[in-house]
């Protein structure tokens, strides 16, 4: 049961490519692995905190006021994430500050709160949060790795901003001059994300057959689906 919750959140219902949630940070912060990992950890922390506390409080939160309550809980955890990053990874924080602050409006987190955490016991809510956060991290890191490699010719550049002096010599220089500098600019983010999503779609289509894929798409295809359902 728990394993199902995890892999459903991470792979089948992946927030990025299956549900198109959290696209803004996905495209904005994926220009290097260090940035991508920083945002993935911060979002994961907020998601875990929000899912856990909403699940614990689900019997107390009145149904009519549930969305404002969820948003306030998420905003509180976002503020905590901002403070922690400001204190321990300030240089990294200044590079991705805005996108850490707007984690609060990431529809992925509100979507999980509304669709899952507010109806399930705390154990399942935690597993669901971990699965969804892992799925988001996979998408962020995949896009981050490709964009850094093509746009900068390196992998794991500037990791010391996130892990301290430990990461100073992690950088791998694959190409001495960047093969496609456009990749780190905004157009590169859109183009490579489009190609990544197409690749995922092609892979899942061959695995489960074209008809099954179409049904999944109908269920999860539209962005903001969870939020839309939450606002009657």
């Amino acid at each position: 049961m728990s394993n199902n919750d995890f892999s459903r959140g991470a792979i089948e219902n992946n927030p990025a490519w299956a549900q198109l949630l959290g696209l803004c940070p996905l495209l904005a912060v994926s220009n290097s692995i260090a940035n991508a990992l920083g945002l993935a950890l911060a979002s994961g922390f907020v998601l875990l905190g929000a899912n856990t506390s909403i699940s614990l409080l689900r019997k107390i939160i009145p149904d009519v006021a549930r969305l404002p309550c969820f948003v306030l809980i998420i905003a509180t955890f976002t503020t905590v994430a901002v403070m922690v990053l400001e204190a321990y990874a300030f240089d990294l924080y200044t590079r991705i500050a805005l996108f850490i602050q707007i984690i609060v409006t990431n529809c992925m987190i509100l979507g999980r709160a509304e669709a899952f955490a507010s109806r399930q016991p705390v154990g399942r809510a935690i597993v669901d949060a971990l699965g969804t956060a892992t799925g988001f991290a996979i998408a962020l890191l995949a896009l981050g790795a490709v964009r850094e490699l093509l746009g900068n010719g390196t992998l794991f550049n500037d990791m010391e901003l996130l892990v301290g002096s430990l990461g100073a010599d992690w950088q791998l220089t694959i190409f001495t001059s960047a093969p496609l500098p456009l990749a780190v600019y905004p157009p590169g983010a859109f183009l490579l994300a489009g190609l990544l999503f197409a690749a995922v779609k092609a892979l899942t289509a061959t695995q489960s057959g074209p008809t099954a894929k179409k049904e999944v798409e109908k269920e999860t295809g539209t962005a903001n689906d969870a939020v839309r359902r939450a606002n009657p």
Binding site: L20, L21, L23, C24, P25, L27, A28, P68, V71, L72, A75, T76, T78, T79, V82, M83, A97, L98, Q101, I102, V104, T105, N106, C107, L110, L182, Y185, P186, P187, G188, A189, F190, L191, A193, G194, L195, F197, A198, A199, K201, A202, A205, P210, E217, G221, T222, A223, N224, V227, R228, N231
Partner: protein
């Protein structure tokens, strides 16, 4: 005056919120399936964005800074935006049924539109004055609407196009957005 003009053009074209700063992508990808809905969403967002930025600016500099509570900004701004959206909904429902019907279903979604919170936070981070904040918000919202409408029209065409199955839907939309973003990079030279 020139300074305000530069802020307006900067937010509208050079640093377009959707194509250069990646804010408001959820409605951009989710709602722009047709021209009409794109336009209605753009209008509703413009309205909320301008009001939210100004009210947040007043609260931040009038209450949070004097009381040394600036770390509460995220929580407070999201409450302002959500409250504003709710108020506008109630107001429109009571006074203008036509407008309410036109914008009604798009209004609740604005709360979770990161462009609104993003503009509000950017205006605070850059220490803009009240007038500059208003100009910045209007420029950003106009840029958002412009791109939404252009992309809405484009996507009506895309739905007719015959594509490899893997590219149908979102992937081709993202790639088209990438090409638009490339075009918008051409504005980079303005004002520098």
């Amino acid at each position: 005056m020139t300074e305000l003009g530069l802020i307006l053009i900067g937010a509208l074209l050079v640093n377009n919120f959707v194509l250069a700063q990646f804010l408001g992508l959820c409605p951009f990808m989710g709602i722009t399936k047709s021209y009409d809905t794109a336009f209605a969403t753009g209008l509703a967002t413009t309205f909320v964005l301008a009001l939210a930025a100004v009210i947040s600016h007043l609260i931040y500099h009038g209450i949070l800074v004097p009381l040394d509570l600036t770390y509460l900004n995220i929580i407070l701004f999201i409450v302002v935006i959500a409250g504003l959206v709710q108020l506008i909904q109630v107001y429109l429902h009571a006074t203008s049924p036509v407008l309410h019907q036109l914008l009604g279903i798009y209004l609740p979604l604005i709360t979770s539109n990161c462009a609104v919170l993003g503009v509000t936070l950017l205006a605070i981070n850059q220490n803009l004055t009240l007038l500059q904040t208003l100009t910045f918000a209007i420029g950003a919202a106009a840029g958002f609407t412009l791109v939404m409408v252009l992309f809405g029209a484009l996507r009506e065409q895309l739905q007719q196009a015959s594509l490899p199955e893997a590219f149908a839907g979102t992937p081709i939309a993202l790639i088209s957005a990438g090409l638009m973003s490339l075009a918008f990079m051409g504005f980079q030279g303005i004002g520098s």
